[in-house]
Symmetry: C2
Subunit: 265 residues, 2 copies
């Protein structure tokens, strides 16, 4: 397979840096083609701003959506943005690796999303009608590709459990899994999460690389999270609320994944 690893940690001599190296080597040894976008090493510009758009006259009002669309369609995006889009189109599978900072991704990776996910590329794709509300949530440019998060945190697994004070990890990651990855069409694999990073000794590191290695070995066969496609009948359009007879009485993030073996779509 062709695998893109998007890595967002500032220090190569860190747990995350070691895991980046481990993943690259494991994937290459398994015969995959691997590209790595090491955002800190690339000095990735995190802030989506008017200076991303060469077509803007000095002093002209900047519209993040309209100017993104114009530059994408005209081929005038900044080179590094177009290069990341090309890597996404090249890849069969994309792995995003980052430490959880304040319960979500570091700013540098959020800025990769803000800038690379152009209008016409990751959103604003497809027709809108009373049966179809854009190619998104299960459709889109990334359809047929897989994505997976590899996340580290200093907190304990219990702190991120169903009743843990931080909130459940699956819920904290839902806006990324569903809103950033499933939205443009990726199938989203369950994440691999390392807890208590401050306590990773040699034995723990051996366990982590064994577990993570298995996940890398099974990228092509692991069952994705069964998110419900937007345009296949599960949602009312244009309200985009889940149909009343599906998971009746339930609410929240969890209703957007079908229970195993009971996909209504």
């Amino acid at each position: 397979m062709k695998i893109l690893l998007v890595h967002a940690h500032p220090e190569a001599r860190s747990l995350n840096g070691s895991l980046k190296q481990f993943m690259r080597e494991r994937l290459v040894q398994a015969g995959h083609e691997v590209q790595v976008s090491d955002l800190y090493a690339m000095q990735w510009k995190a802030t989506l701003a008017a200076d991303d758009f060469a077509h803007l006259e000095p002093g002209a009002p900047f519209d993040p959506i309209a100017d993104s669309q114009r530059a994408f369609e005209a081929g005038t995006q900044r080179e590094e943005v177009a290069a990341e889009q090309a890597k996404l189109l090249w890849a069969d599978t994309v792995i995003f690796q980052f430490p959880l900072w304040w319960y979500t991704m570091p700013a540098i990776l959020k800025g990769w999303v803000d800038r690379v996910y152009a209008y016409g590329f990751a959103y604003g794709v497809g027709e809108h009608s009373d049966r179809h509300w854009g190619d998104r949530f299960g459709q889109g440019v990334m359809a047929g590709k897989r994505a997976m998060l590899v996340v580290t945190t200093g907190g304990w697994a219990s702190h991120y459990s169903a009743r843990g004070i931080n909130g459940p990890m699956d819920d904290l990651l839902f806006p990324i899994h569903h809103g950033i990855l499933y939205y443009p069409g990726f199938e989203v694999l369950p994440p691999y999460v390392v807890y208590r990073t401050g306590k990773v000794d040699a034995a723990a590191y051996a366990r982590i690389t064994e577990e993570l290695g298995r996940r890398l070995d099974t990228l092509a066969t692991t069952e994705p999270i069964p998110f419900r496609p937007q345009n296949a009948g599960d949602y009312e359009i244009p309200a985009l609320t889940l149909r009343g007879d599906i998971a009746p009485g339930e609410a929240g993030f969890a209703v957007h994944a079908a229970p195993a073996g009971r996909n209504s779509g």
Copy 2:
């Protein structure tokens, strides 16, 4: 009151820019002292990186936590970081205003959190024992201050409703409300959210400013979200799971706020 407005939109001539101006004027007219951190106008550096820390020798390994602590304690943080911390200490109330980009804040604001929330300032505060797990979630440097989000999105309210495809807005904002604001001690007011920003005509703008104006007029008296304090008996320590007899059988973000009038703490 002393009010800090942290604003994260790239264009002053936008709905968000107009609302920033409206808020500043409304608050000043009401007799408050107001400071604005307009992150795009300040060209805020979004990426927490080794170059934030003057004490680091060239080539020395960078540890985001340890180096943050060292710089905070030694007073060698970058000037713009210390200035934002001083504004937070000055303020009674902090308003964060931003467009929802990919279901969370723009990278420039996430980078404000990543950099301003230093170890010893926003985390790593207080003792750890079997009754107290740091001054956080209801305690901390921001205790006694209030915070509120003002958020805009192009999507419809129904898309963000209990069964809407994006997930409920309250759940999307929980990692910010609870994990970024309540964590260092803020009392968190319910957010003010503008939906369908692409359809805001003069009539809608009048309604929005009337509603938002009322929210600004009642900053001091609005009931905060009743998040449960970490160290007041509701949580097992150190597992930091909600005590079994509180909201038994329930799970997810919602259990961390007490039902109105039934706070067990």
